[in-house]
Amino acid sequence: MKLSLGEKTFQAFNYTILTVFSITMILPLLQMLAVSFSSPVAADSKQVYLWPIGFTLATWEQIFSNEVLWRSFGITMFVTVVGTLLSLFFTCVTAFPLSRKEFRLRRPIMFVIVLSMIFNAPMIPYFLTVRELGLMNSIWALIIPGLISTFNMIIVRTFFMNIPKELDDAARIDGCHDFRLLFQIYLPLSKPVLATIGLFYAVGYWNTFKSAVLFLQDPNLWPLQMRLRSYFTNPEEIAAVDLLIGTQAFNMTTLKAATIIFATVPILLVYPYLQKYFVKGAVLGSLKE
């Protein structure tokens, strides 16, 4: 196919613009990575762009020996793993009956659930409800109130509804009841969609912030994002360590950069594995009601 001059110009422009913008998506993280391996002097004089200057592992040694940070890391890990598994289970168990034609309450329940998507409860009554349930200062406050995302539930339901009904009949003839039908036939067929919403849930739990702000006053329970936030707003929390040791091997700037990387890398590690699924899953959920 021959391209006209105008089209060639456009293509050149398009590639350039997309390249520039896509690089800016990753640049800040790469810079933080470089800073975290740089000497404090270089970091503060802004010589560090993408390659560490005055290479040192001191900052990372400090991060890895920071027990408070590890504690938060453990809480976030727990919330992410347990939360994602529980969410997947309850999402599927709720979506399955709602995908069955023979389930008589299907329409009224769906209607009410969609209604709850349009009318969000204000923050205060929501806060008071969670508090009344005794979830204040419990890490379950990060999991239970967000156990089922309506959006994800609808994605799974749509997926279930598109599974050929011939499979049901075959299973029924073999004497398969509803629980087995869900767990032994539907779920194994739903791996792509489970991977997708599993990723959505995992990212949500990993990045949980608002629930922690609302429900966790005890700093011992803070997940990673809350800990980070408190480091950013009260730098003396990390700086105190700096002064005590009195060393020049790391400082606020390099520690800040390293904590950003520390809290980002785990979730970024999962995403390439699941990428082939999530685009499909996201589209499925949004285009069909």
Partner: protein
């Protein structure tokens, strides 16, 4: 056995019979129903405290009813207008700048012919979606700090450094730009899928008629994308005043409250921290009502072209 069920299904089955026959489905739905009741409907019903002088020790049943006093107070309250104005302005910026961004990006993506490039671009554009607002906020503060990279670049041109995050005039542009940076790639997913669904024959026909690429975009891609755009627009408008708490909370400093304090950050401070439960719930209700009204109006307009949400 099989024949029996066929006969039974001939006459209308009562709910009770349906429950007996499919009791497992009813058991399965129980936790989900309990979840929606506890975390969606009880809080929704709990909104009635906006019509009370709610006191935490008396609880919902004992607190005195005050009618619409809280709403009357609200409309005489200076803070409310400031917060409402900030929310509405930032939300409008979102509709004007952030909403079209993924559409434009999807159209640009679509012109990329080399598959390897396309994949790489997409992966990179999706990446920021996986970062939390705490981290993005941290990055933004670092980039825009006095000795940050943006000011370093300004320095190269002999410009003086600016403390961006503490300057009122910069707050809203920063909110919009950081929002686009974080979510634009993610937002393209649906549009790209819709573009992929366009019948290639339409383009072939257009080429025969002498349409160039630009004309193809204007006369084929965009019109076919329109229903998707409209649906997403309607879903957006319903949450018009509900900006992300995480984003604003992580970018806001006391210096920028006057331009950046939005309904949710205000409700958090005045409600959760200071215990003004009834007043801030009234604000929440106000927010929901505006959102629903906007959705209703725009849906009516959309229905004229027979493409509303309902």
């Amino acid at each position: 056995m099989n024949q029996h069920t066929v006969v039974a299904s001939k006459k209308p089955e009562s709910l009770w019979d349906n429950m007996k026959r499919h009791w497992m489905l009813y058991i399965m739905i129980l936790p989900g129903v309990a979840f929606f009741i506890i975390f969606k409907f009880i809080p929704l019903m709990g909104s009635v405290i906006a019509f009370q002088d709610f006191q935490i020790f008396k609880g919902l049943w004992e607190s005195p009813w005050v009618g619409i006093d809280n709403f009357i107070y609200l409309f005489q309250y200076q803070d409310f207008y400031e917060v409402l104005r900030n929310t509405a302005i930032i939300a409008s910026y979102g509709l004007i700048f952030s909403f079209p961004a993924p559409i434009i990006l999807a159209l640009l993506f679509n012109e990329v012919r080399l598959l390897a490039f396309k994949r790489t671009f997409q992966s990179l554009f999706y990446l920021p979606h996986f970062l939390s607002w705490v981290i993005v906020g941290g990055l933004v503060f670092e980039l825009l700090a006095m000795d940050g990279i943006v000011n370093a670049i300004r320095g190269l041109f002999g410009q003086e450094a600016i403390l961006y995050m503490q300057e009122e005039q910069w707050f809203r542009p920063i909110v919009v730009l950081s929002g686009i940076w974080k979510e634009v790639g993610w937002g393209t997913i649906i549009y790209l899928a819709a573009i992929t669904g366009v019948n290639p024959a339409l383009y072939e026909a257009a080429v025969i008629d002498g349409a160039n690429r630009f004309q193809q975009v204007i006369f084929i891609t965009l019109p076919l994308l329109f229903p998707t755009i409209l649906v997403l627009f309607l879903l957006n408008i319903g949450n018009f005043l509900e900006l992300g708490f995480d984003q604003i909370f992580n970018l806001l400093t006391p210096m920028t409250y006057s331009v950046g304090d939005i309904i949710e950050t205000y409700v958090y401070r005045a409600g959760v921290l200071q215990g003004q439960y009834s007043l801030t719930t009234a604000i929440g209700i106000f927010q929901s009502v505006i959102g629903f009204a906007l959705l209703w109006i725009f849906n009516r307009m959309a229905r004229k072209s027979e493409q509303g949400l309902w």
